[in-house]
């Protein structure tokens, strides 16, 4: 909509004006004061809800479409204004005898009333109306093509019919919902976030917001979604390859820093599962961006043999408060206090169980045995992995005073394997290392190829292993991006 098409700001009547609604006890309380002020000082009343409140008289005007309230920034009722040239020059909110007398210059107001009462929220800032009013009166800054759904079309079915869904219902991205979503970021809707594979299309903040609405995100989740899109669409992460590969991996997102708690993310019980809105929708929003903006759809560029739940959406937070170690983000060079999202090309989590180890050495050795099987026990340094240590397993290390660095060193030593046992043809298995590796000690993971995170509930002597995908320039490197408001 062009700005010239916008409804213009209506002027308030000059003189004293009070904006009120019947559904406000303070407005009811001051009703006699309003009549008094009309009689003694020519007050005009603007009523938001009941056109007959406080009376049917001609000095009461109904703000039918809330245009006056919206344009004149009324956020509380009653608001008393002194208007000149159609705009409020002085104002006071709620009921305060002193302030009302000072603003009006009329003494002896509200005999018998308390000195002071707070007001109520204006209808124009009521969440039920605010976004629609903003769309109607401020003009849309949104550039996406408008798609009209027929009256007889079920809007949920319409989303599916147009190929916009991952198979689950999506929230119809109406203009007011997208406008509300965009309030979650300070970025301009037209700002380019990333070039999205596989179609390599530039994706704006607005398009991310549209897909975040569809995924079920709340506005406060949007900065994390934007960070996730930035991380996944880097050349290092290689979203094109992650999508196109027959291997069944998807972007696994780990959120670090204060943002995780602020938006209510789950890093505890069932952190890798369902039931938390932020965890469930942020990863899904990224996948919808890849699908809808990038054109990455199963059976087209997406050729996964099995697929995995990570391809629907896989996002969780690290339990930093309960961890004696530095966080994943800190281990990757970020400052504590910085909120980040890390994208890792991973498969579904696999449970590692150890209910017997009491020493860190025993647990570490057992973990190494399990990690050795990542993707294939005979694949060395070719893939990365993410290890999610539960609080009960972490306690073994905390009790023994092991730091993250100590753990990584000890685990790396346990993950050195005798290549002779893993050579192609060894024990009758065709797959394996080339003959030139004979006699060597080979590490399972490349340096930095094992990402360790702390999450999960306080009960359960398990950890989770999330296997990766070929790493390096031919595959995918984990990428961490800052989350910016």
């Amino acid at each position: 909509m062009m700005s010239s098409d916008l409804p213009s700001a209506p002027p308030l009547p000059d003189g004293l004006v009070a904006v009120v609604k019947r559904d406000c006890p303070t407005c009811e309380l001051v009703a006699p004061v309003l009549s008094d002020l009309h009689d003694r000082a020519g007050l005009t009343v603007i009523t938001q809800d009941d056109p007959h409140f406080p009376t049917d008289a001609g000095w009461v005007h109904h703000d039918t479409d809330l245009a006056l309230s919206w344009h004149h920034d009324i956020d509380t009722v009653p608001t008393l204004l002194r208007v000149s040239g159609g705009v409020g020059e002085q104002r006071t909110v709620g009921w305060s005898r002193d302030e009302w007398e000072q603003l009006t210059g009329v003494d002896g107001l509200g005999d018998g009333l308390p000195d002071w009462r707070p007001g109520c929220g204006s209808l124009s800032v009521d969440p039920a109306h605010a976004d629609d009013l903003a769309v109607r009166f401020s003009g849309s800054r949104l550039r996406s093509r408008r798609v009209e759904l027929a009256s007889l079309e079920d809007e949920w079915e319409a989303m599916w019919d147009r190929g916009w869904s991952d198979g689950l219902p999506v929230v119809p991205p109406t203009e007011s919902r997208v406008t509300r979503m965009l309030q979650g970021t300070t970025r301009d809707p037209s700002e380019i976030v990333a070039t999205v594979p596989p179609a390599l299309v530039e994706c704006t903040v607005e398009k991310v917001a549209v897909n975040a609405v569809m995924a079920g995100c709340k506005p406060e989740h949007l900065p994390v979604v934007i960070g996730a899109v930035e991380a996944a669409c880097t050349d290092e992460f290689n979203m094109h390859g992650v999508l196109a590969t027959t291997m069944s991996v998807g972007p696994v997102l780990v959120v670090n820093g204060p943002m995780a708690a602020r938006i209510g993310m789950n890093s505890g019980l069932n952190a890798l599962g369902q039931g938390n809105r932020a965890n469930s929708t942020i990863g899904r929003a990224l996948q919808l961006v890849v699908r809808n903006v990038g054109g990455g759809r199963p059976g087209e560029v997406d050729r996964a043999t099995f697929g995995s739940p990570a391809k629907v959406g896989f996002c969780f937070a690290e339990d930093e408060a309960g961890s004696p170690w530095t966080s994943l983000a800190q281990s990757r060079g970020w400052q504590p206090g910085q909120s980040t999202v890390t994208a890792f090309a991973g498969e579904s989590p696999r449970i590692f169980m150890d209910e017997r180890s009491r020493s860190p050495e025993s647990l570490t050795r057992h973990l190494a045995e399990a990690l050795q099987a990542t993707v294939s026990p005979r694949m060395m340094m070719g893939v990365d992995a993410m290890l999610v240590l539960s609080p009960e397993h972490m306690a073994r290390y905390a009790d023994a005073g092991w730091s993250r660095d100590r753990f990584m060193d000890e685990l790396s030593a346990e993950l050195l394997c005798d290549a002779d046992e893993l050579l192609a043809g060894a024990r009758g298995v065709a797959a394996g290392l080339p003959p030139e590796a004979a006699g060597e000690q080979v590490p399972k993971f490349r340096p930095g190829g094992l990402l360790v995170v702390h999450a999960g509930s306080k009960a359960g002597l398990f950890s989770a292993i999330i296997g990766g995908w070929p790493n390096g320039p031919r595959g995918s490197d984990p990428v961490t991006c800052a989350i910016t408001p």
């Binding site: 093509r145 408008r146 916009w164 094109h240 903006v293 054109g295």
Partner: protein
């Protein structure tokens, strides 16, 4: 009636005219694009042999990594040097 915002790139692929399908491959240059998957060259060697038998000249190309799209320069090179190209992804 509900109006929603289009979540897609709104960039329907620009319609591109395909070259006319040749009657015969005899005398034509055919490009074979190796996507760099292990042993893809073995398969393409056989294809090359068959094409040569049909009277075609075969040019071989290789893209750097099978997980990433062929660089635009390579695509341009193939388009200018060949009358037809065979590109396939297989495991």
């Amino acid at each position: 009636m509900t109006t929603v915002l289009d979540p897609t790139s709104e960039q329907a692929p620009a319609a591109r005219q395909r070259a006319t399908r040749p009657e015969s491959l005899a005398g034509l240059t055919v490009g074979l694009l190796d996507i760099s998957k292990p042993r893809g060259n073995v398969f393409l060697d056989h294809v090359s042999e068959r094409l040569t038998g049909l009277g075609a000249t075969v040019n071989r190309y290789t893209k750097p990594a099978f997980t990433k799209p062929a660089p635009v320069d390579l695509r341009h090179e193939i388009a200018t040097e060949c009358a037809a190209v065979i590109e396939a992804l297989a495991d």
